[in-house]
């Protein structure tokens, strides 16, 4: 029986591992020449220009990272199949926005991955508003909220943020979230704009 872990499985484990492991795994994926070549080829073959390739690769990389974090990638397909699935899905959406998408049968292209590649995207207007909120937060709260967003346990947050222990991590995170709540309570119009 073969007990060896295949590279894909190891990569998936790293992606959901510690902060350092996650960063290393992401770096490995970002620097994969195969993924870049496949992405660039797909874009060039489907009406894209050279200058689209790098932007699409970077946008897809972000979507991939989020999909992994949100457990949408369950390992039913390989990392590269899943990544290219997102490339196709994202490119079709880009062409649609540009009014340049016509071939509906291409949609079946990204169905060769068993994991769902449709990733939720925060639209630009909301992103801008969220950034204006982030601009009001101090660096400590940004760090804690980011670690909380990564689904880290209070123990892990304490370790990453250099806090005394999990209780302190929980308390500090709660304090930051309470400040955010107060910020929004004072600006109901902002809350409404972000909600819709």
């Amino acid at each position: 029986m073969n007990n060896s872990i295949n590279p894909d499985q190891a990569l998936r484990e790293q992606l959901s591992g510690s902060a350092d492991e996650r960063k290393l795994a992401l770096q490995q994926i970002f620097r994969s020449n195969d993924l870049r070549t496949m992405t660039f080829s797909y874009i060039l073959k489907h009406g894209g220009k050279e200058e689209d390739c790098r932007d699409v690769f970077q946008e897809v990389f972000l979507l991939f990272e989020r999909a992994v974090r949100e457990k949408k990638f369950e390992g039913k397909s390989s990392v590269s199949t899943f990544f290219i699935g997102i490339v196709k899905w994202h490119w079709i959406n880009t062409l649609r926005k540009r009014g340049a998408y016509t071939a509906l049968d291409d949609r079946t292209d990204f169905m060769d991955t068993s994991d769902s590649v449709e990733v939720s995207v925060i639209d630009e207007e909301k992103r801008k508003l969220l950034h204006s909120v982030i601009g009001q937060m101090n660096e400590r709260c940004r760090q804690l909220l980011r670690l909380w967003g990564l689904s880290m346990s209070p123990e892990e947050i304490a370790k990453e943020a250099g806090l005394a222990g999990p209780d302190m991590a929980k308390k500090e995170t709660y304090r930051c979230r309470t400040k955010l709540k107060e910020f929004f309570d004072a600006r109901p119009h902002l809350m409404e704009a972000l909600k819709n």
């Binding site: 080829s41 932007d55 989020r66 949100e70 630009e124 204006s132 967003g149 955010l180």
Partner: protein
């Protein structure tokens, strides 16, 4: 599990279907719970934007270290082109075989056999022929120039001196005190305070479809330049120049300075752009370009 943990798990999509159904049934009639869920969604979205900003920062670092794919797969050929190619190869191959085929010895065949052509490579070499020197692209006698270090302090100092800083005030003037500052305004304020890390986090978050993307790239170029990340500055300015929404003149000078700071590896790009600006009397940086040409020659 505390109620906040349940709310968070719900927002993250971590509840199983039964738990999710129970929770949704509970909050239908509880306005406070609905509000708490909305707030948790916002927290989660803010966390997502923060995580994305961090990943974008890593990408910028990795991008400068990662070479572009050496070769992309060419567009698929049509079947007819492939077929045509195959027929041509068969025809040429057949012709070569026909010309060079070994003599079968059959009497009738010799009648059809054309005079045997000796391929040029098999011809005996005339010992008296003049010897022609093969042209090479890299003459071995040429002295090898020592490679300048990428970070040549002289060029960096010059580039930093000549760099045209943005007028952050111009971004701030349009601020309406009653409105939250937009990303560009916030970034310009961070640049003014020399808080380049926060400025870069904000600017990198704008995607290529954002109407402020090009302005963000110009500001990002400045941020990177100030941080001495010259290759990243060059990339940001290049992205800005790809757009037809910005005047090339406004960006070219700082792109030139980014090249100058990396002179040892970007000399070709630097010379090309400097010559372009110096050849255009209408360019706003024409006189500076002429001055720079003189300085560089010294």
């Amino acid at each position: 599990m505390e109620i906040q943990d349940t709310i968070d798990a719900y927002v993250r999509g971590h509840l199983d279907p039964a738990e999710k159904a129970d929770f949704e049934a509970a909050f239908q009639n509880d306005p406070d719970l609905v509000k708490a869920v909305e707030q948790a969604r916002l927290d989660f979205n803010i966390a997502n934007v923060l995580i994305e900003d961090e990943v974008r920062g890593w990408m910028q670092e990795w991008e400068t270290e990662t070479p572009a794919p050496q070769k992309t797969i060419p567009p698929a050929r049509t079947g007819w082109k492939w077929l045509g190619g195959a027929v041509l190869i068969l025809f040429v191959g057949g012709a070569i075989w026909f010309i060079n085929r070994p003599d079968s010895g059959a009497g009738d065949d010799s009648f059809h056999t054309p005079p045997k052509i000796v391929p040029p490579t098999t011809r005996p070499i005339d010992p008296n022929r003049p010897v022609v020197q093969q042209e090479t692209t890299t003459p071995t006698t040429a002295p090898v120039k020592p490679e300048l270090p990428v970070t040549n302090p002289r060029y960096i100092a010059k580039a930093e001196k000549e760099f045209a800083a943005i007028e952050s005030d111009s971004y701030m003037r349009s601020t309406d005190p009653g409105q939250p500052k937009n990303t560009l305004q916030q970034a310009a304020e961070f640049i003014r305070k020399k808080d380049y890390s926060d400025a870069s986090n904000l600017l990198r978050a704008l995607s290529a479809t954002d109407p402020d993307y090009i302005s963000a790239q110009i500001l990002l170029g400045e941020v990177y330049f100030r941080q001495k990340k010259f290759a990243a500055a060059e990339q940001a300015y290049t992205r800005a120049l790809r757009s037809d929404k910005v005047s090339d003149d406004a960006v070219e000078w700082n792109l030139l300075m980014s090249y100058l700071a990396q002179y040892a590896v970007k000399k070709g790009n630097f010379d090309l752009l400097l010559n372009k600006i110096a050849a255009d009397p209408d360019h706003p940086d024409y006189k500076q370009a002429l001055e720079l040409q003189k300085t560089i020659k010294k």
